[in-house]
Amino acid sequence: MQSTDKKFSLTQFKLFLDLVVLVLFIAINIPGATGIPNHEWVSFIFALPFLIHLTLNWKWIVSVFARLFKKLPGETRFNQIWDSVLFLLMIFVSFSGAVLSETVLPALGIHIEIDPFWRSLHTGMANLLLLMFGVHFMMHWKWIVSNFNRYILKKA
């Protein structure tokens, strides 16, 4: 028999997933310390939790985009625009990183001629992505802190 409060809720799962996303995101962004091969492998692994992160927030995405041309609270409108640009940038950085792959794609039998054009854009856009992530992180800070206190620190 399991009590209701012991059940693993969706919010708890989202919190744990976001922590995994954060840890992987930081690991990806220290290639100088981890080395390029690890940077590539972790980046490819990151795709799955990132997809789940978006899927679990799908209701919010749909509800906000359904009101695209309607009046929205300032903070919600900001998040809508910011998160959309962040998504675009994330896909761009992932794509430009994938076509530069020297380890993962060759290991999977895919050989691409590396174009320095993508290297330049990948580095620049990855730095921009970090800046944008800092804002995204702060915009959802209240949710993170309240659920961290509730589920991890077990504060009421």
Partner: protein, 92 residues
Amino acid sequence: MNFIKEYIFPAVVILIVTAALVFGFQFLADASWAEGIRASAASTPPEVGTAPTNISEFLVALATSTVRLTILIGLPFAITAAVLKRTQKQKS
């Protein structure tokens, strides 16, 4: 059925949007302005060098990366916090 509607369908939509974006992005390399970036990138050494081979090299690389991440994530984080605090004060 609910699981498909709530999770599988959104995941498929996200993957389709991603695929469409990736398809579009590949044409950037053919743009006229791409040649200039390609030429300057070809003559610039990669920002990330070889992986650390011993513990001291690793610690130095880790410290450098930590400083970089602190600036790039921490600065916008702090600025946003200050802006949010100010807006909330104005509201109340």
